[in-house]
Symmetry: C2
Subunit: 255 residues, 2 copies
């Protein structure tokens, strides 16, 4: 029975999608049967994997609305053990209100995640920024939660808030556990960035902050533009190495 890990942060632009894509690709490269699910109506996962609009037209939002079944929305990728569920047709609509309500009220999210687990998938879920209904619904059906934290001063000030939200989710779902905080976009040699990394390690309980940190690299930005996870496109890049380390550390828990 596989496990579900949700990548969550209330802060925007901290590397949730980049982390979800690269963790999923690195798990698949280790031979784990992996399903990457995009629950963010922005639908960025498809860009990071270079999937065409037509291949990802149907996805989670179409399964939720009951118009399509699981076999119609789970897509193969060029990577053998990696399948993906895009967010689907909601990403073409001007308003995401309806999708949020649907996801918050429908039992179909839990159904999708449970069926994927029963088929032996390790499931990685990308979520929208915030602590709203989408994130809560996903966390109520997950077993692990990973919190990327951008290494910038502002991200520090909002850490208490995300940890408060996670604590509430952990209390509401006894089978959920904290995979850890992943420091992202670290800039070695940049004093502000190093100060943030040091402060987070000092202030937060030991073991909460993962050992590996993901540096800000040009290869990561280029990889997204090229529609390929950096772990595949530039395996020797420092960010790719960090994401492989992350997959190595989490793989045992997700099978």
């Amino acid at each position: 029975m596989g496990q579900v890990i949700a990548v969550v942060s209330q802060k925007g632009g901290v590397g949730k999608t980049t982390t979800a894509i690269n963790l999923a690709a690195a798990l698949a490269r280790r031979g784990l049967k992996t399903l990457l699910v995009d629950a963010d109506p922005q639908g960025s996962v498809r860009f990071g994997l270079g999937l065409s609009a037509s291949a990802t037209r149907l996805g989670l939002s179409d399964f939720l609305s009951g118009t399509h079944e699981m076999h119609e929305i789970v897509r193969p990728t060029t990577l053998p053990w990696l399948r993906v569920v895009s967010v689907g047709s909601v990403s073409e609509s001007a308003s995401h209100d309806q999708y949020q309500k649907m996801l918050a009220d429908s039992p179909r999210t839990a159904e999708l995640l449970d069926r994927a687990r029963a088929r032996g998938y390790a499931v990685v879920v990308d979520t929208p920024p915030g602590l709203g209904p989408v994130v809560h619904r996903v966390l109520s059906s997950s077993q692990h939660v990973l919190v990327p934290l951008q290494c910038e001063p502002l991200a520090l000030q909002t850490t208490t808030q995300i940890l408060r939200g996670i604590r509430a989710a952990l209390a509401a779902n006894p089978s959920l556990s904290m995979a850890g905080i992943l420091l992202t976009m670290v800039e070695p040699g940049n004093a502000a960035s190093e100060r943030v990394a040091a402060y987070v390690r000092e202030q937060l309980p030991a073991g909460l902050v993962l050992d590996m940190t993901v540096p800000r690299t040009a290869a990561s930005v280029d990889a997204f533009a090229a529609g390929q996870p950096v772990v595949l496109r530039a395996p020797d890049d420092a960010a790719a190495i960090a994401y492989r380390d992350l997959a190595a550390q989490l793989a045992g828990r997700l099978e």
Copy 2:
């Protein structure tokens, strides 16, 4: 009668809060009576202005729930002509679902914005990432919308989506007009960043992309850490200059 400008993007981490704070501070420095409203439950505006937790404990969410009146939530700042409404007590709660529903259903947001305009305020509203109920409600009571676009490849791919959302909001509110797209975190000399800037200017209708661009600068990051808008803390910094240019261009429309 002042006007309301909402700073909106469905993408996270593109510089919405940084732009809202610096635009408001630069307008106030020009002598415009300015009100900065934080509609994002993350409540980052308070950090960017260095306001204490106790000074901002009550704000928009407390006005919406009907427990507090306008005079209790409008706060002075160290800058003459700049007042601020923080997001209030929702930023202390573990879940933002309730706040989203309240804001979407309550007429109190429109009431707050209309009363501020009637008192001659130019109003700048920071919004959460996304195209959900909070953003729609704010846009239905605004006269201008400003869209920061981070100069990174991924932000390009999601531009169509934000423009689709804005077009729908423009159709729903005839008094709303597009102030423009503001390129942020531009990195002169970085090929990927320059490619994005050039592509956006070529592909989007003339006049949609504002002339000034905001470069990525260390002073902007430090300013946030220090709790002061970069236009005040480092007036000669390239980002501060760009934000002053933005205020000069928009001031006439917001009075």
